[in-house]
């Protein structure tokens, strides 16, 4: 699954640590999601969507 998390985070000038703090997860989790090594659970994906004010589909997309 592809995602735009890194871009969205950069737009807000947040570090991985800042984003991890907003979402209540570890920095390692944010890094693994951004590098597409880990797909977040649905609750975490929804939390990310809510934080950035976007639908989940605008952040996460399935690989073609």
């Amino acid at each position: 699954m592809k995602n735009r998390l890194k871009v969205l985070r950069a737009e807000r000038d947040w570090s991985q640590q800042d984003l991890a703090g907003h979402l209540g997860v570890s920095r390692q989790t944010i890094n693994a999601i951004e590098t597409e090594k880990y797909d977040p659970s649905l609750p975490l994906a929804l939390k990310i969507g809510k934080l950035f004010g976007l639908c989940v589909e605008k952040i996460f997309t399935l690989d073609p």
């Binding site: 640590q17 800042d18 991890a20 703090g21 907003h22 209540g24 997860v25 570890s26 920095r27 390692q28 989790t29 890094n31 693994a32 090594k37 880990y38 977040p40 659970s41 975490l44």
Partner: protein, 160 residues
């Protein structure tokens, strides 16, 4: 006058942002601190359980005749193991979802590896008869933490 007001507002905004950032950093620091504390607690309580186990083993090899006393000594490490297990489970419940997945993957690899080791040694024992001086089935338990930490290291590397 207006510039002074704007300057004050900007300063207040900067202060609020810094405070908010420190709050966010604090949350992440708290997660990392929890991981460290959990790791140290797990190690200390695991070593305590192992020490009590070794002491009980040593006492059972001495000539204590009374069966109730022998049974009491044999049961002595159990509460310490329960404490160790509780620490482990509490630590897992405080992890975030990726850390739980890493833990699960580590166990999912370590358990079959331990079974394979046990079955191989079992077959070797049937085939050639392993003695206690050999790396026999009696030593499999010592290999289990080694297999677990190897699997944990491997699972962590996958998500780095």
């Amino acid at each position: 006058m207006l510039s002074v007001l704007l300057h004050r507002k900007r300063k207040a905004a900067e202060k609020a942002l810094a405070a908010s950032k420190s709050g966010i950093g604090g949350a992440v620091d708290a997660i990392e601190l929890t991981q460290k504390v959990y790791g140290v607690r797990l190690l200390v309580r695991g070593l305590l359980w192992l020490s009590i186990f070794m002491i009980a083993r040593g006492l059972l090899e001495m000539n204590i005749a009374s069966p109730p006393m022998r049974a009491a000594i044999a049961l002595l490490p159990t509460p310490f193991f329960a404490w160790y297990l509780w620490t482990w489970m509490k630590g897992v419940s405080e992890m975030d979802e990726l850390q739980r997945r890493i833990e699960l993957e580590a166990l999912a690899l370590a358990f079959p590896l331990a079974v394979v080791l046990l079955m191989t040694l079992g077959l070797l024992d049937v085939a050639i008869g392993l003695s206690e001086e050999d790396f026999s089935i009696r030593h499999v338990w010592a290999m289990m933490p080694v297999l677990y930490y190897f699997s944990l290291w491997r699972a962590k590397r996958r998500y780095e």
